[in-house]
């Protein structure tokens, strides 16, 4: 085994306690989402809250379970902004028409 491979093997980011806490936080947020679905509120507010919680959950999964928090900034900058940019581009393509349709439905 080369020195580089040995260094990789010894690289053990995070602790069991940390991962269990992240898991608990994710479960709590899932419970909150399910409860929210039964609250009487406008669809837009509910959608914003649900997507907000999902983005936070994604952040936890990416950071701790997928170890992105322990990687070099270069890898993070290569993956996350690219994904956000691509999703925004898809959203931008449908956004004007979606808003128009939403207002048409409201009337």
């Amino acid at each position: 085994m080369s020195a580089r491979e040995e260094a990789l093997e010894q690289h053990v980011p995070g602790t069991t306690k940390l991962f269990v806490w992240v898991w608990v936080a994710l479960l709590i947020m899932t419970g909150l989402e399910t409860l929210l679905a039964y609250e009487d509120m406008a669809l837009l507010i509910m959608l914003t809250l649900l997507m907000g919680l999902s983005v936070i959950k994604t952040g936890y999964i990416l950071s701790y379970f997928m170890h992105l928090r322990f990687e070099r900034m270069g890898l993070f900058l290569m993956i996350v902004p690219s994904a956000v940019f691509l999703v925004c581009m898809i959203l931008l393509f449908l956004y004007p028409d979606s808003i128009r349709l939403m207002h048409m439905q409201a009337r």
Binding site: H11, G14, W23, A37, S54, Y64, E71, M78, I90, S98
Partner: protein, 211 residues
Amino acid sequence: MNHTEAQPIAEITWTGGPSPLAVNKKKLGMWLFLLSDTVTFSSLLIGYSYVRIASPDWPRPFEFYPAIVKATLMTVILLTSSLTMVLGVHAAHKNERGRAVKYILLTMLGGVLFDIIHISEWINLMINEHVTPFHNPWGSPLLGGAFFGLTGLHMLHVTIGVIYLGVIAWGFGSKRFAAEDVEVSGLYWHFVDLVWMFIFPLIYLINVAPK
């Protein structure tokens, strides 16, 4: 050039200075694949959101039981399988092969349970509620296409993940694969979990049946 003296490709080392990302090529390849898969699922989810807004008669068929209870349980199972996976990666990096394989097998069990519950949900919708990809008794026929298309692609990812983890568990247990292979398979599994974090609210919670 004398080919017999040529260096094997696997032994060619990076000579451009310090590695900018400090990850091995398998991990980098998996991250790039996941980036492309992000586009696939985002396109489907955004396309689904568009047809949902565009359809005034979009049905909201999901009752608390069985649909929401099952979907919440499936979310809990996937999150738990992600925990066992990350613990498996942790054990693999510490070179505790037996423990790592046990955690990977537990993760696979989570995946199989997820598939079983999901298939029972599909059967319930198809047989009891008469929902097909092109028809449903309540309103816009696009509901079936969106539901089966999105959850079907996700279920396919889970099933492929279970097979992939099976190969990794066998290879790591028999010392054919290294810890980095377990870590790369973990990235795939966590991504499948991550995608579900968007499918669950957008497909199920937004379409909860009115009281």
